[in-house]
């Protein structure tokens, strides 16, 4: 029996008074072997990040360890005095975080931030530190190390920053690396690269990795061992394969079921009457300009044509910066295109004047990404939903009656009408957003990353609702997402965008089974857990 790198026994972490529960983590025990990757999986609020923070001694004020031990290299790291914890951090246990955009000091050069790790632990001389920093940058696969070392964080892309973070974490060859959702904020292709990098580095340095994620796809890619957490408690533990294939706990099963699998839905017959037609659409953003600044142009939409048939759900997939959101916003004329047509029910809404447009607005509605920003916090639900119809001339009483009906339809109950947004959870708010869009009796709904901000289980419920509405109301939907798996769940056809251009468009089956373009194939390959799911799909 190997001695574990880290073993946690009966860890309990208390929350401050007034929180929604007493413990962030309760009675948690697990161990990580040397050179092993342990994935801690859970939805938001499951306590997985708190566990990591407790190990590092980085718990926020008011949150404290109430009991338990964490043995690491023969010591209980939870009981160490602060100075020892400080010495341990970065040297023997290192950590990387979710948001590469904010996790680096914006005012310090990358090289200095790496060298600082050595300085903090009094290692090496200044020139040596520089050389080591260069080596590390090379090791994590960043291009042009000499340049990177002098660069500031803002000059790097998200993936590059995450690599720089990893370089920092590796600096002193820690025995344990804690990675807290390190790929969640990244595009799929970048995510795939970072995951590969972590696997390689584990191989090379033999360190133990505690990898926190909410994504079972990632788990399938990387994990040796898995523990599943729910509301502070561990509900399941085991080797990755076992947990993924034969989950024991109902919660784990529910989570796995909720995952949009690669299983493709039955193809539906499509109508031919177009609800939305986009013709040769172009939108270019110019930044800078003015007297002394050079103009920079970004082609957000570069000559795109597509159409959505009545009753069809078209998925629009792409990575960040592909122009998919701009296209969606152009379709509802929140953005006015430079040229091209947006035909809704035969009317080119891109060409309407402000006044005419207001009369036509109701035809296309939108469901937004951020459930917390899409509802006015100072407005009751009922007025949020009835605002549009009343403006259109629907009598108030009638609009309110309809609003209550719609709230029932989206599964909230009519009594939700008189409450304020903050009384609802994220998933509930998304339902309100859908009801609001439906209240206008639109010909087309644009759903812009409508489920991306939600936990998987909630995501699944909202997707179910949309699917249900699609068939009940014969809705036409332009469904924008970065997640091919989600798109596969709901869409009839999928359009792939890259850098403002439409790369490929086809039925779900065409896209998934015989993609024509290299970029589409690349995207499909990058989907985490793709192999596992394909396997699963095959075995199913």
């Amino acid at each position: 029996m190997k001695k574990p790198a880290l073993s946690i026994e009966n860890l309990s972490i208390g929350l401050p008074q007034g929180a929604d529960r007493d413990f962030a983590v309760e009675n948690l025990s697990f161990a990580i072997e040397k050179g092993e990757i342990l994935c801690v999986v859970g939805e938001s609020g499951s306590g997985k990040s708190m566990t990591a923070n407790a190990l590092m001694g980085l718990l926020p004020p008011g949150v404290d360890v109430r009991g338990g031990k964490a043995r690491f290299e023969g010591q209980d790291v939870l009981a160490l005095p602060e100075t020892d914890k400080q010495a341990m951090r970065g040297e023997r246990i290192a950590m990387i975080f979710q948001e590469p955009m904010t996790a680096l000091n914006p005012l310090m050069r990358i090289g200095d931030q790496i060298a600082e790790v050595f300085a903090a632990h009094n290692r090496l001389t200044t020139p040596e530190r520089r050389n080591r920093a260069l080596e590390l940058i090379r090791e994590v696969g960043l291009p042009d190390p000499e340049k990177i070392i002098r660069a500031y964080p803002f000059q790097l892309s998200g993936g590059q920053r995450q690599r720089a973070m990893i370089a920092m974490a590796l600096a002193l060859e820690p025995k344990l690396l804690i990675a807290d959702e390190p790929t969640t904020a990244l595009d799929v292709t970048t995510q795939a690269q970072i995951l590969k990098l972590i696997l390689n580095l584990r191989e090379k340095h033999g360190m133990a990795v505690m990898f926190i994620t909410h994504d079972f796809g990632v788990v399938a890619e990387i994990a040796d061992q898995v523990i599943v957490m729910q509301e502070g408690k561990m509900v399941e533990r085991g080797p990755a394969q076992q947990v993924l294939v034969t989950p024991e706990h109902p919660y784990t099963q529910r989570l796995l079921d909720a995952i949009p699998t690669g299983k493709l839905p039955q193809a539906r017959p499509l109508g031919t009457v177009p609800a939305l037609e986009i013709k040769s659409l172009r939108k270019t953003y110019r930044t800078g300009g003015g007297l002394f600044k050079p103009v920079r142009e970004v082609h957000a939409i570069d000559n795109v044509s597509l159409s959505v048939a009545r009753g069809e759900v078209l998925g629009l997939v792409g990575e960040s910066g592909s122009g998919k959101s701009t296209l969606g916003r152009t379709a509802v004329r929140l953005v006015t295109p430079d040229s091209g047509q947006v035909l809704v029910g035969g009317v080119d809404i891109a060409a309407l004047s402000e006044e005419e447009l207001r009369k036509e607005r109701h035809k296309v509605q939108m469901v937004f990404q951020d459930p917390y920003a899409s509802l006015n916090p100072r407005q009751k639900i009922i007025s949020a939903i009835t605002g549009g119809p009343i403006t259109r001339g629907v009598p108030r009483a009638k609009a309110e009656e309809r609003a209550r009906e719609l709230l029932e339809v989206v599964g909230l109950g009519a009594d939700a009408a008189t409450r304020y947004p903050h009384e609802f959870s994220g998933g509930q708010r998304q339902r309100i957003g859908i009801a609001r869009a439906l209240a206008m009796d639109p010909e087309l709904i644009v759903a812009d990353e409508a489920v991306s901000a939600l936990d998987v289980s909630i995501q699944a419920q909202v997707l179910d609702l949309l699917r249900d509405l699609r068939s009940r109301l014969d809705l036409s939907i332009l469904f924008i997402t970065h997640d091919l798996r989600v798109a596969a769940q709901l869409c009839d056809r999928i359009a792939v965008m890259q850098k403002g251009k439409l790369v490929e468009i086809g039925t779900v089956h065409e896209i998934f089974q015989s993609p024509k373009q290299a970029y589409t194939r690349q995207l499909l390959a990058a989907v985490p857990g793709a192999d596992w799911q394909r396997e699963e799909a095959a075995t199913a």
Partner: protein
Amino acid sequence: MWKRFRSNIGAMVGVAILLAVILIAVCAPLIYPHGPWQMVQRPFLPPMSVDGLPLGTDTLGRNVAAQLAYGAQVSLLVGLVSTIVALLIGVPLGAVAGFYGNWVDEGAMRFTEFFQTIPNFALAIVLVAIFEPTLASITLAIAIVSWPPVARLVRAEVMSVRKREFVDAATLAGLSRPKILITQVLPNTVSPIIVMASLMVATAILLESSLSFLGLGDPNAMSWGYMIGAARTVIRTSWWLSFFPGIAIVLTVLALNLIGEGLNDALNPHLSRKGRA
């Protein structure tokens, strides 16, 4: 929110002081029906030396306590009205600039910058001197020099709220632009404006007293600044004449600042907002 405010000891102390000052201001005509200008006793009587004159008399033998009470009226009025006027200038300007952007924003911000470039206090002095010191001109001058930060704040807030998705939703609902600004955007900028306003009242009171100190107060209105200005030449022999109005100013301004901070903590809980994500 109210609970969070109430649990803030400093803010509650502020509220208590402010309520006391308001009470005194309101009751002044009842306690001293003859007004603050009546010469009641020998001049320069120290506090507590004669019954009925707890704070002594001033250079003309007038009751300092009565002056203080009436002064509360004026100081509060000037502070409040000038803040309201400043808000009336700053809020629409900032809102329109932030909401419509482009050249409207450019124009409004140039205008604001222009006013921020002129030295504030000097401008206030010139304005009051030119329009002659009356409560109206003092109030207006204070408002004119204090609206630019309001405009900037509102603009920034509107710009941030404007990008929120519920504004897009309102646009899609067919609401007109002005209606969106008024019903959707502005209500969400109210908290920081309230916080700023409470601090502005404090600043306005200080500004009014500074102007009075320089001899630019309204001679028909008894204000604390006017009292200090009138008493500064006798500060050595009759300390109480400038001491009590000075304390009154410090307490009131302090109270308003405490309330402002309390409101800020209660209305703009940055930490909890961040903690949500």
